[in-house]
């Protein structure tokens, strides 16, 4: 019975995963020739004039800032215009995936809560706007910040923080207050941060797009690639906490429920290692592990669809089971964060076409 369950879930998931790969697997156009750059680096040209200095920076590393030096973080490669915009568009796409997940999830869960508090409409509006901004950004080949997108992403980041406050209030005002029961069945504490992450990834995209060419793009004074790797790693860890809590509530009744609490933490560890480690490495394990994690987000939707079917009445009773069963829109959060991690990886690896 259990193998049949797992098999059914796997089949559905593979189909969805294939769709996911078809939709999102085409981001990388051609593998950059890393070797050539190493050869170019072997003999750094002597720096004599300001123009020459800039050119050398395009090939080499940006000098570390004081904060970076204080934190002991190694330097990062300078990134050219093409690579910079490609990374920005990928980040926009990652923000879009996160926003889609939030839009559908909050619509479903807040509908379940009957929109008792008018504030419960907020994440729907903000995530829909973020999705629009990310679609605009994903299709935008220009450099430079866009006021519309920047504002919306900033609002999204803020919304998540305010939303966490609302969810905390909901949990504490339930009988018993801050107890496991209310953490399981009250407003999920981690959920609003997903819209913040979408806002952060979008804002990062704006930063990366905006910075001077020939330098390493920066966010909050730190190299964007490292910052993004750390942010997406932390985001994955937060999402793992959420999935862990709810899968624990579900008693891990299907072995596949362990996947989102095992695979993504490894991805997060690899990302955090990337954030603090030396740049210009071909981190192929990290890349492939992130790709697998991205796939897991889609596979999760398949498993959750199977979970809905397993509830009494199955899909025929969708009006109850979509709300009662595992949330369909939740797993793609992992995909969004893994894609952000992949974009970060790109910024930290050498970009010879700069």
């Amino acid at each position: 019975m259990r193998t049949k369950q797992a098999g059914m879930g796997l089949l559905g998931s593979l189909a969805l995963g294939a769709i996911g790969v078809a939709l999102f697997g085409r981001g990388r156009q051609a593998p950059p020739a890393r070797r050539r750059l190493l050869e170019a680096l072997a003999l750094p040209p002597p720096v004599t004039q300001p123009v020459e200095r800039l050119r050398s920076l395009r090939l080499g590393d940006t000098p570390r800032g004081p904060l970076q030096r204080w934190l002991g973080i190694p330097s990062s490669p300078a990134v050219g215009r093409t690579a910079r915009i490609r990374a920005a568009r990928r980040l926009d796409r990652s923000a879009g995936l996160l926003a889609t997940s939030v839009l559908l999830d909050s619509a479903l869960e807040h509908y379940r809560g009957s929109f008792r508090n008018p504030a419960m409409y907020t994440p729907l509006g903000v995530s829909a706007l973020s999705l629009a901004a990310s679609l605009h950004g994903t299709g935008d080949p220009r450099s430079g910040r866009h006021p519309f997108r920047s504002t919306i992403y900033a609002a999204a980041a803020l919304t998540g923080i305010v939303g966490t406050g609302f969810h905390l209030y909901n949990v504490t005002r339930r009988p018993g207050g801050f107890v496991w029961q209310n953490l399981f069945y009250g407003a999920p504490l981690g959920a609003p941060m997903a819209i913040s992450l979408a806002g952060l990834m979008g804002s990062a995209a704006e930063h990366v797009r905006d910075d001077r060419p020939g330098t390493a793009p920066r966010i909050f004074g730190l190299p964007a690639g490292r910052m993004l790797a750390a942010m997406s790693g932390a985001g994955i860890l937060g999402t793992v906490g959420e999935a862990g809590l709810l899968h624990f509530r579900g008693a891990y009744h299907n072995p596949a429920m362990f996947l989102p609490v095992t695979m993504p933490p490894a991805a997060a560890a690899l990302l955090l290692n990337t954030a603090a480690g030396p740049a210009r490495r071909d981190r192929w394990i990290t890349r492939w592990w992130l790709r697998l994690t991205a796939l897991l987000g889609f596979v999760g939707v398949g498993f959750h669809a199977y979970g809905v079917q397993r509830n009494m009445g199955g899909w025929r009773n969708w009006r109850q089971n979509l709300l009662n069963g595992p949330p369909l829109p939740a797993p793609p959060s992992f995909t969004g964060l893994a894609l952000a991690g992949l974009a970060a990886l790109d910024l930290l690896e050498d970009e010879p076409d700069a």
Partner: protein, 215 residues
């Protein structure tokens, strides 16, 4: 004409073909709705007396078809479905009902010179009250305590029969069995779309609109 009831326009039978019911639910409810109205265990007079008592205990909803309380009890006794236990001094269910109804008529004859059926409402209420307090103990009871008969047999069977019927469910906004479809919104004053909507503060229109889509 506006529906003055608390759950205006709500009809639990609309759930019949929704995921709320399955084959077993339909089978059980259909049997309950199709219960024969002609007496099978009781005679016509006994059946009419039960209806008269039921009308004093659980008045029928004003704007819904009447619930066949007496017929449901007749059906139960006809099939011989029993609790499986008896209270002290009580005979078995069929015997208790027949003897209790005969004794009630005897008490009515003694006090008012007419069978229970033909008494006025207040007279019937007074008699039922005496039975509830155990004040009736004429020879027709044959030693059966009238208080136990009223509380444990007559009133209980009547209330159970009344609220076993879908019409009573519609009247009180009950959704019927919570399986196969249960409920999602479990907090106070929360409502799933397949639950009855209560008319609040005279806002009948909104409840009526929601109840039309329950199912």
């Amino acid at each position: 004409m506006p529906d003055p009831s608390r759950y205006p326009g709500y009809d639990v039978l609309r759930k019949r073909h929704t995921p709320s019911w399955n084959d077993k639910t339909r089978q059980v409810i259909d049997a309950r709705l199709a219960v024969p109205r002609e007496p099978r265990f009781f005679d016509a007079h006994e059946l009419a007396t039960i209806t008269a008592v039921a009308d004093r205990l659980v008045p029928q909803p004003r704007n819904r078809p009447p619930i066949p309380v007496a017929a449901l009890i007749d059906d139960k006794l006809h099939k011989g479905q029993e609790d499986g236990f008896r209270h002290e001094g009580m005979p078995r269910e069929r015997e208790a009902w027949q003897r209790g109804l005969a004794a009630l008529d005897a008490e009515a004859q003694a006090q008012h010179g007419a069978p229970f059926l033909h008494l006025s409402g207040p007279q019937q209420d007074a008699l039922l009250k005496q039975m509830e307090q155990g004040a009736l103990n004429g020879p027709a009871w044959g030693g059966m305590p009238s208080q136990t008969f009223f509380k444990q047999r007559m009133a209980k069977d009547i209330v159970f029969a009344y609220y076993a019927h879908p019409t009573a469910w519609s009247e009180i906004g009950f959704g019927g069995p919570a399986s196969p479809r249960g409920y999602v919104r479990l907090g106070y004053d929360q409502r799933d779309p397949w639950e009855a909507a209560e008319s609040k503060d005279g806002d009948t229109e909104s409840a009526l609109r929601k109840n039309r889509h329950v199912g």
